[in-house]
């Protein structure tokens, strides 16, 4: 392996802001990325994750703050001076250049001798398993192959940092899983540092060492996949982490990091994730996986079943309460539609959040 990525210690975003219209704005994004880390920027569309990536790449100017590569400030440099590798959402392969020329483009721009370009391109080709396709034009390749060319093109220049902007969003489901594994393999083999933008929490959870959840241009939470999955810090992060049941209620009691909510007369207790005061409005968030049939434990809810879907080993059902709250739950056996059942959730698995502040742009 002679593709050796330039080394550095950290990339630091220091209160990076970008004010440009209401959408895609960033506010005071601070983040430190260590060498060899795989960081996923996660969030819904318009949350600023792609904007962050483009600011790091130099494709968008920042309007405040700074970006540092070790002791060097890079946010004032032109993109061509930064030397990062980037994989674009729709690959952005040069349509008039063949696979070999596409991959070698960055090396050619650097004025590297032909023989060395050939050698490095060959290595990149074998790294992404594309030998035999090198003379084809991008239009003649399948989506997966284009994706591989885009990755090869980004890593062949041996960048300190590889930026990926939703690289899998144009692929079908099967190929997406395959390329996901490929991306992680290449990252590990090269010892690369990767910043990966996605709106798919599965992708982020399975790929990343650390996940940065963005919303409305603000960092909401940073943590390992496990930290985020088990302990989302805010309701919107929980939303993103698959807590599909959100029950709005009033805080009845707060004690030892636990909260008791009154939801339509039903009592629900859970772990308080934010500071709560008695009498305020709060939300209890529960994963469908943690909401099961039964009334033995605490947090019992009486609901009427609306739908039942077969999901292989188990069933997923939807139901509503008398007060009109909707629920998604898990069941091991089919339940009759329209029947009234009891659902329960372990109070360790119920997270309680304060009401989100409205009116944030």
């Amino acid at each position: 392996m002679t593709i050796a990525l330039s080394q550095f210690n950290e990339v630091r975003l220091d209160r990076v802001s970008r004010e440009f219209g209401a959408l895609n704005a960033l506010r005071d994004v601070s983040l430190t990325i260590q060498r060899r880390e795989f960081i996923a920027l996660l969030g819904p569309s318009g949350c600023g994750k792609s904007t962050t990536l483009n600011c790091i790449a130099g494709l968008l100017p920042v309007t405040g703050g700074a970006i540092w590569l070790d002791k060097n400030r890079i946010d004032t440099l032109r993109p061509e001076e930064r030397g990062f590798g980037m994989v674009f959402q729709n690959y952005a392969l040069f349509p008039h250049l063949n696979v070999r020329q596409n991959i070698g483009f960055g090396l050619k721009m650097r004025g590297i001798p032909r023989a060395e370009i050939d050698r490095k391109v060959n290595e990149a080709l074998s790294l992404v398993h594309l030998h035999g396709q090198e003379n084809k034009l991008p239009g003649q390749l399948s989506g997966g192959q284009q994706q591989r060319v885009a990755i090869a093109r980004a890593i062949v220049i041996e960048p300190p940092l590889v930026l990926m902007d939703e690289p899998l969003s144009n692929l079908d489901a099967k190929l997406r899983l395959e390329m996901r594994a490929e991306i992680r393999r290449i990252h590990n083999e090269l010892g690369a540092t990767t910043i990966y933008v996605t709106h798919d929490q599965d992708e982020a959870l399975s790929l990343a060492d650390r996940i940065v959840v963005l919303r409305d241009g603000v960092v909401r939470q940073v943590g390992t996949p496990k930290e985020l999955y088990e302990g989302p810090a805010h309701l919107d992060v929980a939303d993103f982490m698959g807590f599909r049941n959100r029950l709005k209620g009033n805080v009845v009691a707060v004690e030892n990091g636990r909260a008791l909510l009154d939801v339509e007369g039903m009592r629900i207790s859970g772990v308080a994730r934010e500071t709560l005061s008695v009498g305020s409005i709060a939300y209890a968030a529960i994963r469908p996986d943690d909401l099961v049939l039964g009334e033995a434990g605490g947090n019992a809810l009486q609901v009427r079943v609306d739908t039942i879907e077969y999901r292989g080993r188990e069933f997923v059902g939807t139901a509503h309460s008398e007060g009109g709250l909707d629920f998604v739950f898990r069941a091991h056996q089919p339940v009759e539609l329209g029947s009234t059942v009891h659902l329960q959730a372990d109070d360790q698995r119920v997270l309680v959040f304060a009401e989100p502040i409205k009116g944030r742009k």
């Binding site: 494709l59 032109r78 930064r82 952005a92 392969l93 483009f105 721009m109």
Partner: protein, 280 residues
Amino acid sequence: MIRDTTLGAKLWAVAVWSLVGFFVINLLAMIATVVTSSFATRWLGTWLPLGWTTRWYSSAWSEFQLWDVLIVTFQVVGLVVLLSGALGVTAAYALARRDFPGKRLLVLLFLLPLLIPPITFGIPLATVLYRTGLAGTFWGVVVANLVPTVPFVILVMIPFIEQIDPKIEAAARVFGANTFKLFIHVLLPLLLPGILAALLLVLVRTIAMFELTFLVAGPTSQTLVVALYYAVFAAGVRAVQSIDAMAVVYMATTLVWLVIALRFVNPTQIVTRAKQQPAH
């Protein structure tokens, strides 16, 4: 459109096609008249001429000094094509890729010379060119012809540039291309078909541009179409066939380029810059 098969719809179709047929037949007959006449020995009061000859061509060639006129025409057209390409493509690139205050005003400025007929702005333009002494000269003709062609290139190229994914340029930049390299290695190869099409259209339009050339040309800076106008205007001085021979020479020059242009562009683009959808 959904095809109807009712009788009414069929009659309607027949009516529409008859109309098109009538138009096309008259158009072709008109052109055939010119060609026939140019080869006629004598053609008066009969369906076809009495005899055939090519001598009108040699007489037209010398009478109208066609060789000089053709040289001037091609020099004017060549310069107009090159200059409008250089000015137009760069401006189109800026307008396609950047949003800046005043952009709409600028686009309007480039749109106006295409919307306003040449004779309307040609008269004040000629006035200014006569004051500066450029009118009557070769360069006066070139400059006047550039007024509509630069905006034309801009407006043809803007959608062409816009359909090139800006991400491709972003990729080139990220991978180390500076502006010059970006242009040589990425933009030029991708834009070449569009530039070629735009410039061929400019070429065809400039050969046929009568009004502006007519208003500013002097005796030595006339293009073919203006020479043809003077010949027709002074009909009676020369034999009709001689004028028609010149008209055929003019047609040939235009049509050669039209045929070449049509290899690269859709005929619709000659009047509009809208791209046609592929047939369904």
